[in-house]
Symmetry: C2
């Protein structure tokens, strides 16, 4: 089966995805009967377009040399936007990997709206549009009878949604608790295991590239909030907005609190939690002391995990998954396969 | 969507499944648009049959009183076998919950062959037929273009196959390592944490109902071997037979070995392992010392878990899942939903 893809965003995740398509081409045909063709590749300055599929090795070689897609001879079109390409090039699926923008979700928002309205599946790593307008986009997908797959926006290679929606299908999920941000878990692990003060642990994480130069989105709990929002909406059909979620980060966690918890046999973790309470879905983000036998207590360093409590299957916990652009790209590829699996 | 089910086997898992159908009826219609009807319920002495769907509350009340299906007035037919019902009652799907029989797989083998040949999906908790004739049954399903879903036979509510096949779709799974048997993990945990000798830990497990009066299938590693065989065949497409798997149980693990490992910071666990080696798929079962930071090292008591190492998503580990008839029934229900999901 041929699948014609338009990819918007050729940063680290977008390039890793193109790399995977090259690397996995034979395997995808053999194992899944999928011939994935990129008919449009869009970045800030324009696009490369080919209705029969772009030569991906050439695209990658061009980008690796610092070239831009719109400059590719035979394929490049300067100034063409994602919306232009989506509206003019026949395709089955949009892969959205533009940077996350929590203010207005652009340009991902326009890309996703356009694709869904035109009846194309959307597979996205961009959290912005989802966090801002989840309900609208979900409704659009439903109306057009296409899928909107968001694994890469909800902890990427850690299969938070696959487990919540498929592995636990038919159960009632009572609570979801997640360690959804590697940076904060790394800092808390250092503070717990070595007694490092918060500021030193953060500085070290920044030195290692585990934390961003501006770490506020992570350490203030906002990244975790974005993810638990999406999980609450997908798994619990919560219809929540970001404003419904009280968020506390780890910036005020002291070494004393951590050592006190440790003496009581507990570990403090930054937990994104969603649950049904009095018939309503509620979610929150806060540092929480977990007993040592809690399945999330042993999740160390940059690792992520989510633990679901259900009515008929009891507790199911999944951990791990690569936290880099290749992991995110692999999550995108997984979502594409799942659209056509069955 | 109406789904007509024939269920063979009304022991603990079969009854738990019928119980779930009653409990979840509204939810299944609302969330998944599935109207699951049981058109045939078969046990040793005969069957109850109704092409418009059996009254499940009545069936359960009858069974709870010690009654037999073939005696149900209006529906019961004495002497009718699974094969008879499968051949004569129009249906979409077989749920196979007869006891596991590793000798010849019967009666599940006949039921599954009949159903698959007639183009009906099969969802099975019975390991026997799968362990003995996996390749033949898989081929039959392929030929008839139906699904054979075996979650309930591969650690039930622990989603071993869902994770390996769906959550990791598109990756190359390099190794799968599982703690797939709760009884042996309970015994090893007691030996590790309290220095209990093997025989005492086993006796205690038997007293608690965690181990069977005849524990040999568990403690000799054969249950783990059955499960890793199926996982190797589904996830790695290994085409393996039971005879290909060297199996060592936990009966010869001494407290001294466990304490020695402990001093080295290691935990001994009974591991079912499958991997690709020199282009071939190999599997094995043996007690293995795991370093403390191995994701399976912290899996305690009767809990089960599986850890997959992949090329593009790194390591993904899933643990938990209820280990009783309700958990197995929930896994069957999940498989049914997954057949019709998408």
């Amino acid at each position: 089966m041929d699948v014609r893809i338009i990819i918007c965003g050729l940063g680290r995740v977008g390039q890793a995805f193109v790399g995977l398509l090259i690397q996995k081409d034979k395997d995808l045909k053999k194992r899944y009967d999928l011939n994935l063709k990129v008919v449009g590749a869009v970045d800030i300055g324009g696009a490369a377009v080919s209705s029969s599929g772009l030569p991906l090795e050439e695209v990658m070689a061009h980008l690796k040399k610092g070239g831009r897609v719109e400059e590719m001879s035979g394929f490049g079109k300067k100034g063409l936007t994602g919306k232009d390409v989506l509206s003019s090039v026949p395709a089955d699926l949009l892969v959205e990997t533009t940077p996350t923008n929590i203010k207005d979700g652009e340009p991902g928002m326009t890309h996703m709206r356009t694709a869904l309205t035109l009846g194309r599946h959307v597979v996205t790593a961009a959290k912005g549009p989802l966090v801002i307008r989840y309900n609208e986009l979900k409704e659009l997908a439903k109306k057009s009878k296409v899928k909107m797959m968001i694994s890469a926006a909800t902890a990427a290679a850690l299969p938070t949604l696959d487990v919540g929606l498929s592995c636990l299908a038919g159960t009632e999920v009572l609570t979801a608790e997640g360690i959804l941000n590697g940076t904060t878990n790394y800092i808390l692990t250092r503070m717990y295991e070595e007694g490092t003060p918060y500021k030193d642990a953060l500085a070290e994480a920044q030195k290692m590239g585990v934390a961003e130069p501006d770490p506020s989105i992570d350490v203030e709990g906002r990244d975790t909030a974005n993810k638990i929002l999406l999980i609450a909406n997908e798994v619990f059909q919560g219809g929540l907005s970001l404003g419904d979620i009280p968020v506390e980060g780890i910036t005020r966690v002291t070494p004393e609190e951590i050592q006190k918890a440790k003496k009581e046999g507990k570990v403090i973790k930054l937990i994104g939690k969603a649950e049904r309470k009095d018939g309503k879905v509620v979610a929150s983000v806060a540092p929480m002391p977990l007993p040592a036998n809690h399945p999330l207590a042993s999740v160390r360093g940059t690792e992520k995990a989510i633990s679901y409590l259900t009515d008929t299957m009891d507790r199911v916990t999944v951990s791990g998954g690569k936290s880099n652009p290749v992991g995110a790209a692999a999550a995108i590829l997984k979502d594409i396969i799942r659209i056509y699996q069955n």
